[in-house]
């Protein structure tokens, strides 16, 4: 743990905190363009966070300390996840703290806390949101793990840094197992980040709510932390996807020049990814909640298939 490492880690953290709301803003801008509307400003999420932090936090009478603790814990989990995933460099000093399986575990921890906090107030919306969130999680988490297993069998390790290094250093080969895993990963990230076709992030109808129902009772700084955590989750998922499937451009060492080159590469890849996400959201319609388990079961089975194809073809 030398000075370079600490600087790299701090840079990664700051980049995550700044770029995550920017990514959400960019997706909203692209979606508005594609739908022919005039777009909100790119920095709108920052303004929203600033506004929410200034507002008073209104809490229901029956809320327990768990309700007030949960947003901090969830924000902590997501920030820790963004510090572990190789976004700019694979040589982060904190990366050995958690490997791919622990990353999925961190997401599960955040999911359990938000579900418990939603059930805390005791309204119908809260328990409905908790039930749906746990349903999506129970199928999406195994699918994500299957994708990570395929990647780890290819690189003989579950440490994210090693996976990125191995996959990035191969000469360009088309690996069908990774292709199948990529399709499964896209489906899982759509579900976990509460995007169309699984959940509508801009809805106000209870029939279509999952994420919105969970944060219904929060306001002020707690809501700000939860929105920031959701943006960080999208950022982490995008970076994980880029690290697994498009690992070129991530720095291998912590020199200042390598990091400086990695940042524009990351921004460019995220911009393209954000645009594709907005495209998917515009083109697809939201599914009925009863179809979501089938959607995610398909993702899980694609993950299993990717594993089997890897065992068969060695690729």
């Amino acid at each position: 743990m030398n000075l370079e490492g600490i600087l790299a880690q701090a840079t990664a953290m700051v980049v995550a905190l700044v770029v995550a709301p920017l990514l959400t803003g960019w997706v909203n801008v692209c979606r508005a363009w594609l739908q022919g509307r005039s777009a909100p400003p790119l920095l709108q999420p920052f303004r929203a966070l600033h506004k929410l932090f200034w507002k008073e936090s209104v809490i229901a009478h029956g809320a327990t300390p768990l309700f007030r603790l949960a947003p901090y814990v969830i924000f902590g989990c997501m920030l820790l996840a963004s510090m572990i995933v190789p976004t700019l460099s694979t040589n982060l000093p904190l990366a050995p703290a958690a490997d791919a399986i622990a990353l999925v575990g961190l997401f599960a921890l955040a999911r359990v806390f938000i579900s418990l906090a939603a059930m805390d107030i005791g309204t119908a919306f809260g328990s409905m949101g908790a039930r749906r969130e746990m349903l999506v999680g129970f199928l999406a988490e195994p699918a994500f793990l299957m994708v990570l297993f395929t990647a780890s069998l290819l690189s003989d390790s579950t440490s994210l840094a090693t996976i990125v290094t191995t996959l990035g250093h191969r000469e360009f080969t088309i690996l069908p197992s990774l292709a199948l895993a990529g399709v499964a990963f896209v489906m899982v990230s759509l579900a976990e980040n509460a995007r169309v076709p699984v959940d509508n992030p801009a809805t106000h109808l209870e029939l279509t709510m999952i994420h919105e129902a969970l944060v219904l009772e929060y306001s002020g700084r707690h809501l700000a932390l939860l929105e920031w955590a959701a943006a960080l989750k999208l950022f982490v998922y995008s970076c994980a996807g880029l690290a697994l499937f498009f690992p070129w451009g991530v720095a291998q060492a912590n020199h200042r020049t390598a990091l400086a080159l990695a940042l524009p590469a990351l921004i460019a890849k995220l911009a393209i990814g954000g645009f594709l996400l907005a495209l998917i959201e515009t083109v697809m319609a939201k599914m009925r909640i009863f179809r979501v388990p089938e959607f995610l079961a398909t993702a899980f089975l694609l993950g299993v298939l990717a594993l089997l194809v890897h065992q068969l073809l060695g690729a």
């Binding site: 932090f53 200034w54 008073e56 936090s57 209104v58 809490i59 229901a60 009478h61 029956g62 327990t64 768990l66 901090y72 814990v73 924000f75 902590g76 820790l80 904190l94 050995p96 703290a97 958690a98 490997d99 399986i101 622990a102 575990g105 961190l106 599960a108 359990v112 579900s115 059930m119 805390d120 107030i121 005791g122 309204t123 119908a124 919306f125 328990s127 409905m128 908790a130 039930r131 749906r132 349903l135 129970f138 988490e141 195994p142 297993f149 780890s152 069998l153 390790s157 579950t158 440490s159 090693t162 209870e206 009772e217 306001s219 700084r221 388990p293 899980f300 993950g303 299993v304 594993l307």
Partner: protein, 670 residues
């Protein structure tokens, strides 16, 4: 005399002391206060002493002793090696917490007087400890039966309720079916030499056919006690019927003695497993785990939910067992050590967090007199101690970092990911599918635990009298705190635990995980190498806490920390009652819908013409109807047929004797 005291003698002293405490309970049956506040804490102290003794014995050499109890010429052979010490440690640490809790829990006897219960409890503990140190089949079976009988009496404590009687009967029946299988297994293992000591069984080299017979009998027999499919039907009946500390002891400790039995027979007495045994164990384990967790999601009684969750965890342990067998059969000893370490770690984790959860439900039951999830809710405000310790247990049971449940599941998944090195192509492709099933079960376990904690402790109280619920007493809090501390420490320092477990893998497999090097230091767990996989629980915990504190202070510094209390928003709905929350059936409905073919569901749907519309759904165990009811019908038919031999007339019976005499005379003449 003290100088020549072996560790195994210390263990026997603890066991004898337990029995003395039990007898004192009988003697003091008129003074329940003394039994509760004097004897149970003493028993807890003895359990803590057993922990220390077992820890000291873990890295040491195996010791033997001969106890001249029993029949003349058939003494008890006892042995304390690494595997036994580990399970003794498990018994000690779990029972310490449970005994302290029971000191505050057993008030006036509900059915059985507290003194009698004290004796049954301590005989149970002593029998479990003796099973673990037994070194011959005779001692093992005597102690196994004592364990079954004493736990039967404990289960039927409130014996005036007919359901509880029925549950106890079913428990005893299946325990004995298992015991017969275990006895037959020992019979096969002694290979016609007539010597039933384990030392003799170790020296035998059985043909593969007989070895497989022994393994399958052991799997069946010990599986009946552990709650493996399809002999699990007693678990969801017996655990809710028993008082909560007894459920905790049974679920946390007794199921593990069955796992001890499986490990002892397969890796010690038979010594070279065959690969397809592992596949059988893997499949059975996955089926059990899946079945347990799916049924747990559909339960409406909090103790039945925890019982099914125990079935799920036993399924996971049996899967680890199967994986260890597969690796060992192909000679990959270090990977087998990885799987076995994961197995043992999960055993102790489950003992701690399941006992914690059962004790929490005991407090809830005492405070509210309510077991059904549909009548609870919002108890976190009135019972904060129970709620926060139960939260620790729930996080561990759901397998979330940085808890101990996550650490053992992480280790097990690492074991599954090494299967690319297996030579058999069928297995190479099949075992990752088991890993997929494992993660599915783990994710569903999180769902079940959110349901459990959310419906009981969060939300609004579904009944008004819940607001009078009182938090747990002082001794109960001590028990809960002990188990919570165990969970947290084991979760934060998994590398230390794994290094302590290492001698067991070494003694059973010939190779440990550490391989001379270190598994990691106190900070990081890296079972093979840091490039391969690493996980640092203290770092994850410390970082999350650091970020939480920093964010809290930063927000207060740059913005403000004002809070206003108001009514819940609920999208502007003006009228909110507690009935508008999810019921237990409601929270489990998506799982019921997805896995409908597994349940035997009966639904009563309201029609528009009903004056008082009702919705009721009952879930039944399909195994019960498919297997046990059919077997019972066949047995009844057979006994009907045999019953025709009994006519009731004396001349017929005399005829039987006459015919037998004539046949014998003819035989001896020839």
């Amino acid at each position: 005399m003290i100088g020549s005291l072996l560790t195994i003698d210390a263990v026997l002293i603890v066991v004898a002391a337990w029995i003395v405490v039990g007898l004192a309970g009988i003697a003091a049956v008129r003074y329940p206060g003394f039994v509760a506040h004097g004897l149970f804490p003493l028993s807890a102290a003895l359990s803590a002493a057993l922990c220390g003794i077992a820890l000291a014995a873990l890295p040491g050499t195996p010791e033997t002793a001969i106890l001249a109890i029993g029949l003349p010429g058939l003494p008890f052979h006892l042995r304390l090696d690494a595997l036994s010490s580990f399970f003794l440690f498990l018994v000690g640490i779990a029972s310490a917490g449970i005994s302290i809790f029971s000191a505050g829990y057993f008030r006036r006897g509900e059915g059985t007087p507290a003194g009698v219960m004290c004796m049954q409890y301590h005989v149970f503990l002593a029998a479990m400890a003796m099973v673990i140190v037994s070194d011959d089949a005779y001692a093992f079976m005597v102690c196994w039966e004592s364990m079954a009988l004493s736990s039967y009496f404990l289960v039927t404590t409130n014996h005036r309720i007919p359901e509880i009687q029925r549950a106890g009967y079913l428990y005893l029946l299946i325990a004995h079916i298992g015991a017969i299988a275990i006895l037959l297994c020992f019979g096969v293992l002694q290979a016609n030499t007539g010597d039933y000591t384990f030392a003799n069984m170790r020296a035998q080299h059985l043909a593969p056919f007989w070895a497989s017979c022994a393994f399958l009998l052991a799997l069946f027999g010990f599986g009946a006690k552990a709650g493996v499919l399809p002999l699990h039907v007693w678990l969801p009946e017996a655990h809710p019927a028993a008082p909560s500390p007894v459920s905790a002891l049974m679920s946390g400790v007794m199921l593990k003695t069955a796992i001890y039995g499986m490990l002892r027979v397969t890796f010690d007495l038979v010594s070279t497993p065959i690969w397809w045994w592992g596949v059988v164990a893997l499949s059975l384990g996955l089926a059990t785990a899946f079945f347990g967790v799916v049924f747990a999601a559909a339960q409406v009684d909090m103790k039945r939910l925890l019982a099914y969750s125990s079935i799920e965890n036993i399924g996971l342990i049996v899967m680890a067992f199967g994986l260890a067998i597969v690796f060992r059969a192909y000679g990959m000893r270090s990977l087998a050590a990885l799987a076995m370490t994961a197995l043992l770690f999960h055993c102790i984790n489950h003992a701690l967090f399941k006992s914690l959860l059962f004790l929490g439900t005991g407090s809830v039951l005492h405070a509210t007199n309510e077991r059904s999830l549909g009548k609870l809710g919002g108890l976190m405000r009135f019972m904060p101690w129970v709620a926060w310790t139960a939260l620790a247990g729930v996080i561990a049971a759901a397998g979330l970092p940085p808890s101990n449940g996550f650490a053992s599941e992480w280790l097990l998944l690492q074991g599954f990911l090494f299967t690319g090195a297996l030579p058999n192509p069928y297995l190479k492709m099949l075992v990752p599918l088991f890993a997929g099933g494992l993660v599915l079960v783990a994710a569903l376990a999180a769902y079940v635990m959110v349901k459990f904690f959310g419906v009981i402790f969060l939300g609004r109280p579904r009944e008004e009298r819940l607001e009078q619920a009182q938090d747990a007493g002082r001794l109960e809090r001590l028990g809960l705190a002990w188990l919570t501390a165990g969970c947290i420490l084991l979760g934060l320092f998994p590398a230390a635990v794994i290094e302590a477990i290492d001698p067991i893998a070494f003694s059973l497999l010939g190779q440990g995980l550490a391989q001379g090097g270190r598994v990691g230091d106190w900070l990081m767990l890296a079972p093979v190498s840091a490039e391969r996989a690493s996980y640092s629980a203290p770092l994850v915990f410390a970082l999350i806490v650091a970020i939480v504190l920093t964010t809290f202070l930063a927000v207060r510094r740059f913005y403000h920390g004002r809070v206003r209390r108001a009514a819940a928003w609920d999208c502007g709905t003006p009228f909110q009652t507690a009935r508008m929350q999810d019921t237990a059936e409601g929270f489990g409905q998506p799982i019921r819908q997805i896995f409908e073919p597994f349940f035997r569901m009966r639904r009563e749907l309201p029609s528009p013409a009903d004056e008082r519309p009702r919705y009721r759904v009952t879930i039944e165990d399909p195994m019960w109807a498919a297997i046990f009811v059919r077997i019972a019908a066949i047995i009844e038919w057979i006994s009907g047929v045999v019953g025709t031999l009994q006519r009731g007339r004396i001349s017929i019976y005399l005829l039987y004797s006459f015919v037998t005499l004539v046949a014998l005379l003819l035989l001896t003449q020839a």
